[in-house]
Subunit: 368 residues, 2 copies
Amino acid sequence: MSCSFKILNENAGARLGLISTPRGDIDTPAFMPVGTAATVKALLIDQVKSTGTQIILGNTYHLMLRPGIERIDRVGGLHQFMNCDLPILTDSGGFQVMSLSKISKITNDGVTFNSHIDGKKIFISPEVSIQIQKSLNSDIVMIFDECPEYTLDKNRVSKAVNLSIDWAKRSKLEFGINKNKMLFGIIQGGIFNDLRKESLDRLQEIGFDGYALGGLAVGEKQNEMFEVLDNISQFLPKNKPHYLMGVGTPSDLLGAVKRGIDMFDCVLPTRSGRTGLAYTWEGKKNLRNAKYATDDEPLDPKVNCPASQNYSRSYLNHLTNSNEILGSILLTWHNIAFYQDLMKKIRESIADNNFENFYRKHFEILNS
Amino acid sequence: MSCSFKILNENAGARLGLISTPRGDIDTPAFMPVGTAATVKALLIDQVKSTGTQIILGNTYHLMLRPGIERIDRVGGLHQFMNCDLPILTDSGGFQVMSLSKISKITNDGVTFNSHIDGKKIFISPEVSIQIQKSLNSDIVMIFDECPEYTLDKNRVSKAVNLSIDWAKRSKLEFGINKNKMLFGIIQGGIFNDLRKESLDRLQEIGFDGYALGGLAVGEKQNEMFEVLDNISQFLPKNKPHYLMGVGTPSDLLGAVKRGIDMFDCVLPTRSGRTGLAYTWEGKKNLRNAKYATDDEPLDPKVNCPASQNYSRSYLNHLTNSNEILGSILLTWHNIAFYQDLMKKIRESIADNNFENFYRKHFEILNS
C-alpha cells in the first residue's frame, strides 16, 4: 500500500481528510504530539496512543546530536528504537539549526553549526537531512529549508525563499521515489503574502506530497498568522495535505482549521504539562494556583484520561507544587488527550457540516 | 473481615506467610515500594500494581508537611487522594523527624521540629502521629518512636529505647481497637543485642500486631545488620509479621529473609531508577555507562516490565543521559518489577523448601 491523501468533506473553510500510510491512517485535521528526542516527553507510547494520537513527530536536529543517527539506523529506524508503531513525521532540522545552534556559516551548499549540547561542529545540507530522515525511516519527510527568524526585512526573507527553493529541489532529488513515504515542501515567505505565494508556486513546480507552512508562530500575533493563512490558503493545492508547522494553542488550531489547515504539531501540550498548565474545554488552568488546593473536582470530566478521570484538582495541585514526576505525566497525558479530543470534535463538526457553529461556540473560550 | 497473619511454610530460617487486610492480601516475604508524597515517584498506581506489588508505604512526615493532612482527610484518606486501592502502610514520622528536620526540642511529651520545606514549627507526639495515620486511613499503622542516628553510645541508645517504649504505649492507647487495621511496634536498640532484646520484650508486653526493626540500614555495614538480625530473630514472636524498616538492596532482602524477616520497604528501587541505575538478576547496571550506547539487548529479559521487554539498553542509555522523564519512568518500573520478581521467587523457593539453594545461587551476584 502506498501513501495517499483524500478529502472526505469540506465545510466553512475546514477540510475533513484522510492520510493513508503503510504504517496506519491519519484522520485530518490532525494534531501530532512532538517526540523530540525519541520520546514524547513523560509518556509511554501506549499512553500517547490511548489519546487517539495517530502520528507523532520526531526532530532530526535533536536526534542527530543525541543519541546520534548511527544507533537508531542500526536497529532499523526510529520506530524500532523508541518502540513506536505509529506513523512518524520527521522535520528536516532546518528550524532548530537556525533557532538553537550557533551557526558558523550558511552557504548555498548547506549550514555549518555548533551543537547546542557539546559545541561540536556539524554540517547539514538538504542531502544530509534527507539521508538522516531515511535512516530514521520516518513516514513523512520534510525538505531542508532555511527558516529565518521573524523579521520585517523583506530582502532577508526573499533570499531565504530563494535558497529554500534550491534546497527543496535538492531535497526531492535526494529523497528519490518512494511511494511508501511522503515528502512535504515547506512554504517560507514570513508575513509577506507575495513571497509566500512565490514560494508555494515554485514548490508546486517541483511537486510534493504535501505543503507545509514554515516560519509562523515565531513571534507574530495570532491575527497576523491568520492573515497569512487567509491569503495563502486559497492557493494551496486542494488535493494535498496542508501542514502548519509548530502551531499552536487550541484556538490557533481552531482558527487554522477554518483556514484550510489539515495538520499541526506543537510542544505546547507536552511542555505545558511539565509546568502544571492544563488545557481544558473551559480554557487554560494553572494547577499550581493555590485555589486548586481546596478543589476536589476532576480536572475536566469531558476529557478521557487518568488526570481527568481518576484524580482531583487538589491532588494535581499537590503533585505539581511538589514537582512530582507523576504531575508531569498526568498533565502531559491530559493535554495531549485534550488536543486530540479537540481535533476529534473538529472532525466530527466538519463531517456534520457544523464546523462554523463549533468554531463560534469554542473559539473565544479556548482563546482565553 | 479483620486483619490476620499466618505462616504457610518455614524453610532454612525463611518464612512464607500471608497478611490479610480488608483491602487485600499480602504474600510475605513482601517488598513495599515507597510512595512518600502520595505517589510512588514516576509511576501510576496501575503500573505499580502490574509489578505484583500488593502494598505500598506512605510517609506521615512528608504528607503532614505537604500537602497537609486536611485535604487528604477531606476526601476520606490517602487511598482516595492518590487513587490507590492497595493496602497502605504508613510510618509514624519518627524516622524522618529525626533525620530530615531541624529538631528544636525532644521531651517526654513529643518532638518539636522545623519543617525542612518551609521552616514552620511543628509538634508531633505519639498521639498526633496516630491521629494523622487515622486521617490517612492507612491499613498498617506504625507506632511513633525515637529513632536515634547510628551510634556506639549505648547510653544514648538506651534512653531512646526507654522513651520509645513509653511512646509505644501511648501510640497503642491512641490507636484503640480496630480489627480492620494493624498496629506495629518498632524495636530499637541500635547494634546492642541486649537493648534490642529489652525493646522487643517490653513491646511484647504491650502487644502489637506486628514487630518492626527500626534504626537499621542507617550507616552500619551489611554484616553488622545481619548480626543484629541473627541475634534478635530467635526472639521475634513467630505468629506475627517481622518488618525490617528502610531495607534495602536485593542482597539485604535475601539475607534478611534468611533471618526470618517478612516485610521490607526501601526507596532504593525508585530513587535508583531516577538516576539511571537498574537492578537485574545479573546485578546492578548503570545505564548511563557509555558501553550501553552500543548494546541493543534488553535490560533483563527475565523481568516482566516495559523497560526490559520493549526497549534496548541503548535506548535506555539515551533516555537517562538525556535526562528524559521516560528514562526515570522505565527504570523505576523495572526496579520495582525486579524487586517484586525477587520476592516472588523467594516465596516460591520457601514454598518448595528450596530457599537455601536459591540463596546460595543468587546472594553473591545480587551483592555485587
